[in-house]
Amino acid sequence: MTEREYNECVNTYADNVYRFILKNLRNEEDARDVVQTAFEKMWRHRDEVDATKSKSYLFTVAYRQMIDHIRKVKRIQLKDEFSEEAKVQNKPANNLKKILDEALARLSETQRTLVLLKDYEGYSYEEIGRITNLSESQVKVYLHRARVQLKEYLVKVENLI
C-alpha cells in the first residue's frame, strides 16, 4: 500500500469506520480516538496491507481497537449505559429511526457490531466472521437472533403506539 493509496483510503473509508465505531461506542471523542489509532496502525503496517483489502483490514483493526477500548473503560461506561437505558424506557420514541436506535442500544455488543457491519457496510457473514474473529455460522446465529430481537422490539413499540 503506497502513500497515495493510504490517503485515498482515508478519503473513502474514514467516515464509514467512524460511523461504525461511533454507533457502537456512542461517544464521539472515543470513536475519533479509535479511528485515529486504527489508521495509524494501518500506516505503520502499510507495507503488509494489500490496497484492495484495505477496507476490511481497517475495520478489523478498528474493531479490535474498539474492543480493547470497551474493556478498558467498561466499569466507567456501565453506569452511563444503565442510565441511558432508563431514559429510553421513559421516553418511547415515535419514529422508526429512533425506535431502531433504541432497539440497537439494547442489543449486546457483539450483536450490535454484527448488525452494523451487515447493514452499514453490507459485509457477508464470512467477511464479518473474519473481522470479528467468529465462525460464519456463529455470525449467522448471532445476527439472526439480533434481528428477531429488533423485530420484536418494533412490534412491541408499535403495539404501544
Binding site: E3, Y6, N7, V10, N11, A14, D15, N16, V17, Y18, R19, L22, K23, E28, R32, V35, Q36, F39, W43, L96, K97, L100, A103, L104, V115, L116, K118, D119, Y120, G122, S124, Y125, L143, H144, R147, V148, L150, K151, L154, V155
Partner: protein, 372 residues
Amino acid sequence: MSKLKNMNINRHNYEEHFILYWDNELTASQRQAVENFVKENNDLGEEFKLLGETRFIPESNVQFEEKEYLHNNSFINITNYEEQLLNYIDDELSDKERKQVEKFAANHSSVQKELSLFQKTRLQPETAIVFPDKSVLYRREEKVRVLSMTWFRVAVAAAIILIAGFATIRFINNNKGGDKNEVVQNFPSNNPDQPTTKPIDQPESKPQDVANTEKYPTSSQTATEKDDQKTINENELVDKNIAVNNNKNINNLPIEGKRTAQSKTDPNTIPEEDRISPSYANLPSQDKSMVQTLAIEMTNDNPFDKSFVTNTSRITSDNIDVPEEAEETSKEKGGLKQFLRKTTRVFERRTKIQTTTDDNKLLLGAFAVSLK
C-alpha cells in the same frame, strides 16, 4: 362405560348420556338405549338435537395450499421460513433463492408481514456522521528528507565542504589584498584632498626635479607588488613624518638620514628634501591637522593591516589612535555580519525556507542524514 352399562337413563343423568352419544363414545346398544329414552321423553328431544348441532363439522373447502412448503426438504417451508427471511434480509441468498422467498412470502400474508417487519429493522447508514477532521489522518511518506549516505557520498560531501571552505577563505583574503592595493593606489589620488604633497610641490619644484616627481609614480607602480607595499607605505609615511617634524623644526637631520638610508638616496635627495620642507613650512597652519586626517584616511582605507595602523598611530597623536582601532574592529565585524546576513537572505529567497522559527529561534542544519 362399564358403569353406564348398568346405569339406567333417567331424567337426572340424561345430559351426560346425550354428550357421550354425540361424541361417539357409546357402544351400539348404549346408543340404542339413548335413542329409546329420547323417544319416550319427547320434551327432551329438542335438547338432544341441540347438543348434536354444537359439533364442528370439517369444512371441505378449507384446504392447505401449496403443500410442498410442508416438505422438510424444500428450500423454504413453514418450519424454516424465518431463517430464510433473515438470510434474505442479510442479502446472503442467490437470485434463485431470493425469488423463492419472495414467492413464499407472497403466498402467505403472515410471512409477508413478517418480512416487511424484518426489512424495517435494517439500519440505514447515517451519512450525516462524518469523521470531523480528516487532516489528522493523512500521512506523508517522509516528513524530513533523509539522504542515505554511503561512505562514497560522505567523502564527496566532505570534499565539497572543504573546497567551499578554502574558496571562502581565499575570497576573504583576496578582498583584503584588494583593499591594500586600493589604499596604495588611492594614495596619490588622495592628494587632491591634500594639496600639500604634490599639487603644491610640483609647481614649486622645477622640471629638473624629475627624481622627486618620479618618486610617487614609482612608488605606486611598485605598490602592486605585495612585498614592497609595506616599505613603500613606510617611505611615504616617513615623508609625512618629515612633514610633521618639519612643522616643528625644519631641517630635522636624523630623520632625513633615516630616510636616505631607507631609500638609497642619490645626491639629489637632500636638496629635494630641502625644497620640500620649505613647501611644508610654507603651508598654512592647518597643515598638521591635514596630515592627521591623511593618516586617518589611510587607516580607513586599509582596515585590515594592523601593522599599518600601528605605523600611523606612531605618526598621529595617541588620542586619535584608540578610536581608530575600535572603528576598525567594528568595521571588520560589521563586514562579517553583513556577509552572513546576505547569505541568509539568499538562502531564504532560494529555498523559501524560513531560517528562523516563529519564536525567533535560529535554525541550524535543518536536514537529516541517515547512515546505512
